[in-house]
Amino acid sequence: MTASATDILPTDQSIGDVSRQLTGIPLHFPARRQWWIAMAVAVALLMLFIVSVIELFTRGVGIWGLNVPVTWAFAIHNYVWWLGIGHAGTLISALLLLTGSEWRNSLNRFAETMTLFAVVCAGIYPVLHLGRPWYLYWMFPYPATMGVWPQFRSPLEWDIWAVLTYLSVSVLFWYTGLIPDLANARDRATRRGWQVFLGILALGWRGSTIHWHRWSRTYRIMAAIAVPLVVSVHSEISLLFAASQLPGWHSTLFPPYFVLGAAFSGFAVVSVIAVALRAMFGLENLVTRKHFDVLGKVLLATGLMTGYGYVFEVVDVLYGGNPHDLQTLLDRTTGAYAWLYWGAVVFNFVPLQLLWWRAVRRTGWALLLVSVSVIIGMWLERYMILVTTLYRDFLVSSWSHYTPTFWDWSTYFGTIGLFLVPFLLAIRFIPVISIFETEKTLLDEREAHDG
């Protein structure tokens, strides 16, 4: 049997082979050396993070390059960036489940896993950036002896709820989808320790028809709810800026602009991970060139929509004619931080154009390079949005500058460790690709051939 043009997966593999191959990754880990090397790097970064946090909590947020007017910079900027990345997993998984795009089944598991840890990295930043983080609990409504409550008009307060909701829902969605695969892995496990570990996580899943029935319904409803949640969360994050009056922030364009940007950066990270895991675990049979092709198309589409945001931001300002907005636009494109703006434009959109070519989309390393460029570009964009508005806002007399310090960078690179360590552990210990869904895809394709 050979693969036909409409197939996502090569149909010359049995579902038993797929099952053995995927459960075998945690149970008989194939890529120990690469994994340990990656883990060593990740742990080193995590250590850097821990050192940075200790320094931060000991001395205060003044170890960063912040000042007045630039009261927010790296912390919030990386928060937005991480959260944007953290949007892809749930979006891919939920949206494509609803639209019945079966190619998702090879990607959704690790995309969702990536989402969780990216959201954790994002979620930790608002804590780190507090002047007095030990009073974080004041942001939650609890009956305090001081009789004072949180302030629900604040976008920061919205943030807390949005991010915690997003994290909780992502975890539940991810776990709900994972249960059958955990059961599969449990049944493949031979060592007692693995059996007990996976057995407890699988909750005694036995694949009963009625269970599957309820599971399918629940999972689809969850997906249906998760899609607007994804859209809402980054819209809400954008309100952190749009709710102010500052030029360059105060725009109704921000919510869609942020959501699209988030999806853009998220798909880029998914592409990177897809290429990497495929090579690492030899998953060429499951993550195929067709997957790359589809990912490349999605990346191109979200990228173009983000580009539309860039264009419309300019149009909006020119049409509005507010002198402060014009001043900020001019400064963004020609001022001290113009390299950020143009850097964002170049990294985001120039290599992206290669994806118009099918051959490029279907080449792993090319897709990887374009994606890395997008990740960098989106990082620059978030930096640009934060700093260029703050360092020169309304009154010229408060205009200042911003330069990140060593600790800004160390905290940022540290969060990459914070992301990688649990992610590497996750791909080590749980199936990286949804087994039963892949099997289902395979069977459906076969049926299509047979029928």
């Binding site: 609890y142 009956p143 002896t145 001081m146 009789g147 449990r186 007990v196 057995g199 005694g204």
Partner: protein
Amino acid sequence: MPRHSMTQIFSPAADTWLRLAVVGFLSVCGGSVVGAIGFARSAYVTSIDNAPHQPVPFSHRHHAGELGIDCRYCHADVEKGPKAGLPPTATCMTCHSQIWTNAAMLEPVRQSLVENKPLRWVRVAKLPDYVFFRHDIHIAKGVGCVTCHGRIDTMPLTYRAHAFTMQFCLDCHRDPTPNLRPADRITDMTWKPAGNPRDPGGKIAAHVGIRFGELTHCYVCHR
């Protein structure tokens, strides 16, 4: 590849344990939240009902209750300034140079006078540094001593009768009326309005010009 014949990994008891663990975990989580909220109100945190050791076992019950000495005899600044003032040693000695002149209990007082070294009392009614409380205005507006300090006249050793939480302050600042009393009853520990406390309180509030609604904004107490 060695094959196993059974998928049954767990014994029937495992389910019981798992359920117990889940219930236990949820209880611990919920319990800690409730516990923390309760702990913040506990006597340990608010330090109520705890009479610290003092250099002289001064009894308010004896002086203020049994002897009926007015609060302002010793806490002389209470109507004039923000602080009520701890009495200088000289105030103690106005009486104790005449009575109980040799009591061993009063040795630290005499020593203080002789050496010109102040007594080191332990303050019982203390607010955080960022609370700018003023005694004088409370007295001027008809808030009695007993309202915050409790029945000092029944305390053999002084303790904090009310938890000085912000909620405690807010309750009265939101609705001062029932807590107001006539100017000549400020230091009276036993005075109770006849009937509904709102009736005399309302009249007093109108008379002294309480600025209703302005007493709960932050800068009244914090700055």
